[in-house]
């Protein structure tokens, strides 16, 4: 899907406060986002830092978002369990799904996490959906409903080439 359309949908759901660590999956969305005066993006130094920054939005009556690569999931396990899930603070995780399907897709450093990514969200009992080129609203809205009902973070998994 088109990067501008991606942000138009997120903005229409009130998602305008983001932090993150870049991933090539989001190369085009990133370029669009930083040009958009309606979106505030804080360039974090680690994924857990991005989670901390973005989670503040909940306390201001908003929903924050984190943009990250799936290799950073390990960096957010502790804040997810002892902050997000303990206090029940929702935040949207936009996760670039590198190494999807395991080898030979993508580079070797992504193979293991590529397979484990959905398993890790299952393990933490966090809702997630997989974005396709034509289903953003169909997956985002139920995901946001689940996140708000359970008051927990949720993830949108995005494979290479889905947003262009």
């Amino acid at each position: 899907m088109n990067a501008q359309s991606f942000w138009d949908v997120l903005k229409s759901r009130g998602l305008t406060f983001f932090s993150g660590v870049p991933d090539s999956t989001f190369r085009e969305p990133f370029n669009v986002m930083v040009q958009d005066p309606d979106i505030r993006y804080v360039p974090a130094v680690r994924e857990d830092v991005a989670l901390g920054v973005a989670s503040a939005a909940y306390f201001a009556g908003r929903m924050g978002g984190v943009m990250m690569q799936n290799s950073g999931i390990g960096n957010i396990v502790n804040p997810l369990t002892s902050f997000s899930l303990m206090y029940k603070v929702p935040v949207l995780l936009l996760v670039g799904w590198r190494g999807y399907g395991g080898p030979p897709n993508d580079a070797p450093e992504h193979w293991i996490m590529g397979v484990k990514t959905p398993e890790l969200f299952d393990l933490l009992e966090l809702p997630y959906r997989i974005l396709e080129a034509d289903n953003l609203e169909a997956v985002l809205d139920p995901l946001l409903v689940a996140m708000k009902e359970q008051s927990v973070p949720g993830a949108l998994l995005v494979r290479a080439g889905v947003i262009e």
Partner: protein, 190 residues
């Protein structure tokens, strides 16, 4: 060296009613809770190292309110990169206080490396607008006052003694109560 609970008493006496005060996991939250449990306090019960990034997000989202981050040297060292991020984002309403006793006191006073690393110098190098290092209580009073006449982000490094308080209670509020009370304070629902 300042006894940490005396530093916390001094800081909480200086805090204004509409300030948001965030305290890190372990003894610091327990001492803030015991000293002055107020709706604008957020006690980070776990997630060591997360407090400063959470505080940065709050400072950016609530520019009309001062955000006071109270953490220890271990927590600050764990998230040294966040000092750089705070300095780069330059929130004028952020006051970052590091209570530096050169130890992980909550877990048995094991030594940290802040005896070898000057965290005030780190803050200056990162680019905090206003950095003060204090090691006695009068200096802390002056440092807190000086924040009113300088733009932030501020960093106050408080060199603190290892001085556990016997029988200090745990934070008695549930995590969801801490969350709701704090969010209500920010959104003026209280």
């Amino acid at each position: 060296m300042i006894d940490r609970y005396k530093a916390i008493e001094k800081i909480m006496a200086h805090v204004r009613d509409d300030d948001l005060v965030l305290s890190t996991t372990g003894m610091i939250s327990r001492e803030v809770f015991t000293t002055d449990d107020r709706p604008g306090n957020f006690y980070m019960l776990g997630s060591m190292g997360l407090l400063s990034s959470f505080g940065l997000g709050l400072a950016l989202l609530t520019p009309e309110q001062r955000v006071v981050i109270l953490e220890g040297d271990g927590s600050a060292l764990m998230s040294l990169g966040t000092l750089a991020l705070i300095a780069a984002e330059r929130p004028a309403n952020l006051l970052h206080i590091i209570l530096d006793n050169e130890a992980y006191e909550s877990t048995g006073a094991q030594p940290s490396i802040s005896s070898e690393v000057d965290l005030a110098d780190v803050g200056k190098s990162c680019g905090y607008a206003h950095v003060v290092s204090v090691d006695e209580i009068e200096g802390l009073e002056g440092a807190l006052m000086s924040c009113d006449s300088h733009p932030g982000p501020h960093l106050i490094l408080v060199k603190a003694a290892i001085a556990p308080v016997d029988g200090i209670p745990r934070v008695s509020h549930s995590p969801s109560d801490i969350r709701d009370r704090f969010a209500g304070r920010i959104q003026r629902r209280d």
